[in-house]
């Protein structure tokens, strides 16, 4: 669906004309103006002219983010039915609802860059586009609900906070709202974990067992170390930090919090170098990451098949309300 508001220029005509890359200049000159603006920290709006390379890079980035929100609801929604108190049930429903809402906001940002929502969902289900590694794994207990809401969302928010300053302004604005909601999820997740850790022995065991399973995927989540100079997403300031910077930030904030609760982090090599203030750790399994995000994770195909079937089962509803009534308009 196209939002009529999305068709209105975000920039007033006068302001738009003050941006030289919007002028009818030779391509290279436009490109130079655009690049200088972006690399100096300037923002780009949906109605601005932009080089194909930039448009494609933003679209790919936002589309994968949207896919991740949409696929991320599947592992958690399995536990909505099993939430053990009314308060937890309400909190978990609200959290999963937020993720669906984020997917909707992000698909709309991506739609404005030229790819229809249906095409994005087709590509997702066909395995042509990706979603985050952590959503390819199974959930096994209520301990997973706490660990996902606390640590997976925490690892995500470390990356997302840096995206609030993305050069693509519609994405940056969307991230403001998303980050605020994610911070509530982290509080919910931490509360679930703390409640279990202060409960019975078997409740504590649930959390430790979940942490043991999730630690590997969490360490892989931000991706392998890369060369800052070669990263085009950094060059265009679509994102602001490297994978390693994000992983270090996550460890700095969350390792002390995990230890404080009496949890054991399943990496004997994990240590903070007091001089450099950086963490050393067992090298994450990058082969596993590559395999998982290309659709070979333990739950990849099952979850995509679930989405495909669900999309087929509900197609008649979309067809009935998104297709204009025949003849009536004439």
């Amino acid at each position: 669906m196209t939002d009529p508001l999305a068709l209105d220029p975000v920039l007033p005509v006068r302001q738009r004309s003050e941006r030289p890359w919007n002028d009818d200049l030779p391509h290279d000159e436009r490109y130079a103006h655009f690049e200088a603006h972006v690399t100096a920290g300037g923002k780009i709006e949906a109605t601005d002219w932009m080089p194909d390379e930039y448009r494609t890079a933003v679209l790919r980035f936002v589309e994968m983010h949207a896919n991740s929100e949409l696929m991320g609801v599947l592992p958690e929604r399995e536990w909505i039915m099993r939430a053990p108190t009314l308060r937890r049930k309400l909190a978990l429903t609200a959290k999963v609802q937020d993720e669906v809402g984020h997917a909707q906001l992000l698909y709309r940002v991506a739609e404005d860059l030229g790819k229809p929502r249906d095409a994005m969902l087709d590509d997702l289900i066909a395995g042509k586009t990706k979603f985050h590694n952590v959503f390819h794994y199974p959930t096994k207990s209520w301990g997973d609900v706490g660990i996902i809401a606390w640590l997976v969302d925490a690892a995500a928010i470390v990356a997302q906070q840096a995206l609030r300053d993305s050069s693509y302004a519609p994405y940056a604005r969307t991230m403001q709202k998303i980050c605020w909601e994610e911070s509530v999820h982290i509080m919910h997740g931490r509360d679930v974990v703390v409640t279990l850790m202060t409960g019975t022995d078997s409740q504590r065991a649930l959390v430790q067992e979940a942490l043991d399973r999730w630690w590997g995927p969490l360490m892989q989540m931000h991706g392998p170390r890369g060369d800052r100079a070669k990263d085009r997403d950094l060059h265009w300031r679509i994102k602001a930090k490297t994978s390693e910077e994000l992983r270090q930030e996550f460890l700095t904030i969350y390792v002390p919090r995990l230890l404080e609760l009496g949890l054991v982090i399943p990496d004997p090599k994990l240590a903070l170098d007091d001089e450099t203030k950086t963490w050393t750790y067992t090298e994450p399994d990058w082969d596993e990451l590559r395999s998982v995000v290309t659709g070979h994770g333990p739950k990849s195909q099952e979850r995509l098949e679930f989405r495909r079937l669900n999309r087929e089962d509900t197609r008649w509803v979309r067809d009935s309300i998104l297709t204009p009534a025949p003849a009536a308009a004439a």
């Binding site: 108190t85 009314l86 309400l90 909707q104 409740q203 008649w316 009935s320």
Partner: protein, 258 residues
Amino acid sequence: MIDLALAPGLRTALAELLLTMADDEFVSGFTDSEWTGIAPLLEEDVAISSISQDELGHARALYQLLATVLADGRDEDALAYDREPDAFRHARLLDHPRGDWADTIARRFLYELADEARLASIGDGYPPLTELVGKLRREERYHRMHLVAWIERLAHGGTEPRERLVAALAAVGPDAATVFTPLADEPSLLEARILTRPLAAAEAAWRADLTGILVPLGLPVPPAVTPTTDGRTGHSDSFRWLWGEFTSVRRSEAGATW
């Protein structure tokens, strides 16, 4: 906290009313939440999740009120979760499984309007309930608008949506009036003005309301059935499945804090 203002007989009658209202909202909210993450459109997904949360919030408030009326040491979670399936008192209408989108809309529409007629029958005899019902009705207005809009869309949405809706209404219609299953001691509730009219009168108001919406759309109005006393007992296999799911984590460690 024991509310001393209630005579024992009236307390029992009020507790039954509260339990039926709370269980209806609880089961309805659970079934709606099965759509969270997989509704036909992202926009509708967000909407039905909100409705589900509203209903569960209503159930929670009603169980809390019931806990003060019973004053037997059980809190709202113990009341909601720690019962065997046969002890639930939701209407048979809500025993129907989630089904497809037309099943959901048909069941929810019939229930929403029935709940509205029931809420409109609550008097000022027990002020905590009167106050709560005022809050519930403010939210239920929006649920009604949403569900009526879907009924109209599906009715006008072409051959397949209409056929699915008609089939869904036919499947749940005979159980729709179970929301108004007579309570054991309605006369006491009427005398105390906790109820302003018998549930049979609320049912008549509901039928008039339904007729005004369904008949202009050419849709079948649920058949009038002889009132039964077993409309809230003897639950279906689909409810037993739901019960098995929603109690599974809690039963894994009895007495633990979650």
